[in-house]
Structures are given as C-alpha cells and as structure tokens.
Amino acid sequence: MNMPRLLPVLCCAVYFFLLAPILVVVLASFNAGAFLTFPPQGLSLRWYRTFFHNAVFLRAFIESMEIAVAATSISAVIGTMAALFSMRTTPALANIVRLGMTLPLVLPEVLTAIGLLFFFYAMGIGVHYSVALLVGHVLLTLPFIYINVSTSLRSFDPSWELAARSLGASPFVTFYRVTMPLMKSGLTSGCLFGFIVSFDAFSTSFLLKDVGTATLPIQLFDYLRLNFTPEAAAVSTFSIIVTFLIVIMTKTIFGIRFTK
C-alpha cells in the first residue's frame, strides 16, 4: 500500500515526542552530580547504588508490584466473567453491562478515591490491611480488562463452545481449552494495561494507602517533595526497565496482540 512519503517522518517525530521525557529521566539517573539537573554533570552509577541500599524505595516498589498484581488478578476474573456474560446475553443488557463496567473509567479517579475513603471508614474498616487500596485499584483496572476481553470476544462464535460440549468437554474444560485460548490476546493486553495503570496510579493510592505503607508513585512524590536528587530518576529508570521486561515477557509467553 502506498503511503504519503511524509508519514514515516511524522511518525518518527511522534515517537521521539513519546520517548523524550523518558530519555531525559534515564539520562538524569546517571548523573554524577548531587542535583537532578540536565544535562547531567558527568556520568556515574552512584544513585543506583544509593537506591539499591535504600530499603524504603525497594519496599515501595514491592508494595506497588503486589497491589498491581493482586488488583489485576482480581479484575481479570471479574472483568472476564462480565465480558463473557455480555457475549451471552441480549444486546440491550450487554450495553448496560458495558456502561457499568466503563463507569470507573468515566468517573474522576480522585472523586472515586475520596468516596471510597469515606465509605471504608463508615464501615469501620478504614484503610486497614490495604483493603481500601486494593478495592480502589480493582476499580481502576476493571474497565481495561473488560474492554479488552470483550473486544477480543467480538468475533467469538458461541457455537465453538457448544461444539466443545458436544464433543464431551465439561463446561470447565470448554472454558480452558476453547474460550480461554480464543480470548487470550484480549485478556493479556487487558491485564497488561491494568497492571501498568495500577502500577502508576497516584490519586487512588495517595488517598487509600494503609497507614505505614506506600506505593512507588507515592514514595517518589513524597521523596521529590523534599529531596530533588537523581535517586528519583534512578528509581524510575529501574521501574521502567522492570515493567518493560514484564511487558516483553508477557508478549513472548502469551503472544499478546493489542485488540484486533
């Protein structure tokens, strides 16, 4: 297909735009100087050393991972079930389900978080055991799972499931052998999106975090409020690399395709 000659140039410009602030952060993390300045004053790994010896950031990093994994897993189950339901029900009901499932995305994150904060305290649970935080993150990730899974189910033929049943597969085996593989791409990209969104969530975490814990964005925010050293850039670069590795791994293991 012939494309206008300018298109590749334009796209490269957009890609550069997308990468520019990240490049800046990555470069700043190798700064030998004491300030988060650009261009860096000499190159060194000193801030990575500082970071790896800073239990606070590592703990926040692990906390973020745990919350993101837990919230994405819960959403994956709930969202996939809802998507399967939409496929099996009448179009009118499916529309209502879709509206409901995208609602957490439509409502402002900050407001939802404040609402949840009041709610959990009214119930006497408060922010204990990170329940409120987890619920907040489930709400954040749910729409992404649902949208991606139901998109991948759009071309799903319900008689595939019937065929499997007629061939002797139980409902569970049918799901595992037929439905699941056919919506895998949507589920994978949904989970990936959900994970990334949860890992980066700020407003929700900042209002709902349990006493004495912090996710990475909160920790970075708290840190940067008072200490503007390249350690923050080092932490971010590290988390970019880790999340990127996760994406690559998911891609190679599950063969992710973004929608269809």
């Binding site: 033929d157 008689s159 595939w160 019937l162 065929a163 499997a164 049943r165 007629s166 061939l167 002797g168 597969a169 139980s170 409902p171 085996v173 052998r177 037929v178 593989p181 056919l182």
Partner: protein
C-alpha cells in the same frame, strides 16, 4: 445401535411455544430430517436433543435411557454446526482429536483414529492446516470428521450445507448420505431445503409453528402429504377441486381434468363430496389441442430448465396449472394446447375442502 424417542417435548420462549408437545421415535441407523420454514422449531428440537437448551416438559430417550437431565457432554452425540464451529486456534488434526482427548484415549489410539477419519473424508493430508486455510467444503468435511471420530450414539447436523454453493451442496448431500449409510449411525438432520431432505433421508419430520405436521418417508411425503401446508412446502403442487365417487366398483377421484383411481394409501373408504385434489406438475401431460379426453388450455409462460421444462397454463375457467415435462419446450406463450392427467392414482388431501 441407537434408537431415539422424543415424548411430549415442550419448550417455551417467554410466552411463545417454541416446541409444542413433540413426540417422535427414530429407528436405529435411520437418517431423519427435520424440515420446515425458519422458526418452526426444528433447530430448537435439535438443541434440546443435544442438551444446549432445556425442555420445559417431556422426555428424550436414547436407547430407552432418559437423557433430558444430562449435560451435552454426557449425551454422547456428534454435532455438525451450520457455521461448522471449527476451533480457529487448533489445526484440523487437533480439532478432530479434541473429542477423543475428552474421552481420554491413549495418544496412539487418537492418532490412528484421527488419521482414519480424515481418510474417510479425504482430508488426510490437511491435518496440520488451520481451519481458515481450508475451503468451505473442506471445513464442512472436517466438522463431519470431528463429529464422527468419537463414534457418537447419534449424529446431529444443523443445516450443515447452508453455507455452501449449489454444486458443492449436491456433492456433499451424496457424500454425507453415503458416509452415514456406511457407518450406520442414527442421524438427525435439520434443514429448510426440501430437496435436500428428500435426497438424503429415510424419514422426514415436517414441522410448522412448533408442532410436528407430518412424519413420513420422502416419497410418501411427496405423494401423499397430510395437509395442504405440507403439500405446498414439499415441492410444487396444483390443487384441483374434485370429489370421490364409485367408478366400476372402485373408488375414483373425479376432477375437471378427468377421473383417475384413488390412491391406495388414502384413508378414504367411501364416496366423498368436494375435496382438494393434489396433482404434481409432472403428473400432467400436454397434448395437441384436439386430442381425445384432453381439456383445452392456453400456454402462459415457458421456462426451460435443461433436463426439464416448466409451463404455466391456464384452463378455460382461468385456473392456472403448473406443468413439468421431461422434453424440451415444444410450445410457446399463447399456444393453445390440451392437457390430461397421467395414468396414475390421485391423492386427496385429507380434511381439506377447496
């Protein structure tokens, strides 16, 4: 091997009765077609038989065992879907092997049986392809192989030829019927195409509006339809007003085109007043206008169909007749001709007055 009995099957969708007290029995090894217009309940019957839909009332007996409460996977059926429903993420071989894996057969046995059944459908060398790489007819045969390889008690086919072109459809009719007879499996086939049903079935079940209208072998169905509705759904028909009277000590049917003996299969045992008489287009002969015992008619239109020629004629009183001959067209529109009935017994549609 397997007989199927359906007793008083009833199914509601909301307030509409999709199945209204269906009862039926199917002999072992028979090929039975459910024929009817869309929405008549034939597909619903199949889905209930397969276990995809529940019935509100009634029993389904496979070899005398009530399976109505069993989920589909425990009914031991093979099913071919209109869309074929081949798993797109599996190769042909994997598709066919799926049912055997569910039955936990040893790996070697699976391999052998998959090869055997693919040979049977002439697709042995397509085992590693994906369904989307196959033509419609090939996909159809894979679907058939997948359903047959598990050696089910009964084979259910849901309009399996609907998505094929005309020539392939004819080929597959022969192929499926031949295969079914070779294996001897009890088969239920759903279609809205009467020609298909006639060509393949041992027995045809005609359904209208959730009820069984008639159950009969194809020839009986064509020649002796139980109602006007069945008669017009199964092939083209002319209806002439007539009555049954004694003629030479036998019961005969008197029509405007002449008098012929009453079909022996009819339940009528005494002279009867005005009735609808069924006359198939091929049972009318065209003669020269002056021929003896011929009734004059005018040719309205002629359709050439290769081996057959179809005429529409009008009688003097304006009634139109469809006539089919096995000869090339010998008349044109506007020609005056004579018509007479072939020398065969006539069928009186029961309980149906003109």
């Amino acid at each position: 091997m397997t007989t199927v009995a359906i007793e008083n099957l009833t199914r509601h969708f909301g307030r509409t009765r999709a199945l209204d007290d269906i009862s039926l029995s199917i002999d072992d090894g028979h090929f039975v077609s459910f024929l009817g217009p869309s929405g008549c309940g034939k597909s619903t019957t199949l889905r209930v038989l397969a276990g995809f839909d529940a019935c509100d009332r009634g029993r389904i007996l496979f070899d005398g065992q009530d399976v109505a409460a069993l989920p589909p996977e425990q009914r031991d059926i093979g099913m071919v879907f209109q869309s074929y429903a081949l798993f797109p993420h599996m190769t042909v071989g994997q598709n066919v092997a799926f049912g055997l894996e569910m039955r936990r057969l040893p790996r070697d046995a699976i391999r052998q049986r998959v090869r055997a059944v693919l040979d049977l459908v002439h697709l042995a060398d397509h085992s590693d392809r994906h369904p989307r790489q196959l033509s419609g007819g090939q996909q159809q045969r894979v679907a058939l192989a997948r359903a047959l390889v598990i050696e089910p008690r009964i084979l259910l086919l849901d309009e399996p030829l609907a998505n094929l072109d005309a020539i392939l459809r004819e080929e597959m009719r022969v192929f499926i019927r031949e295969l079914q007879q070779r294996i001897g499996i009890t088969t239920i086939y759903v279609t809205h195409d009467q020609a298909e049903a006639m060509a393949m079935s041992d027995m045809i079940v005609v359904m209208f509006g959730g009820r069984v209208a008639q159950v009969a072998p194809p020839r009986d169905l064509y020649e002796c339809p139980g109602s006007l509705q069945v008669a017009s759904f199964v092939g083209q028909a002319n209806y002439l007003a007539g009555h049954v009277a004694h003629d030479n000590g036998q019961l005969a049917v008197v029509t405007p085109l002449g008098t012929r003996p009453l079909d022996g299969r009819s339940a009528i045992t005494a002279p009867a007043p005005a009735r609808n008489i069924l006359i198939r287009p091929e049972s009318i002969c065209i003669t020269p206008p002056a021929a003896s015992d011929a009734v004059p008619a005018t040719v309205i239109s002629v359709q050439y169909g290769g081996n057959l020629t179809n005429y529409v004629l009008a009688l003097a009183d304006g009634q139109q007749l469809h006539v089919q001959t096995a000869t090339p067209p010998s008349h044109a529109g506007g020609d005056r001709v004579g018509v007479r009935l072939a020398d065969a017994p006539l069928w009186v549609i029961p309980d149906c007055r003109p």
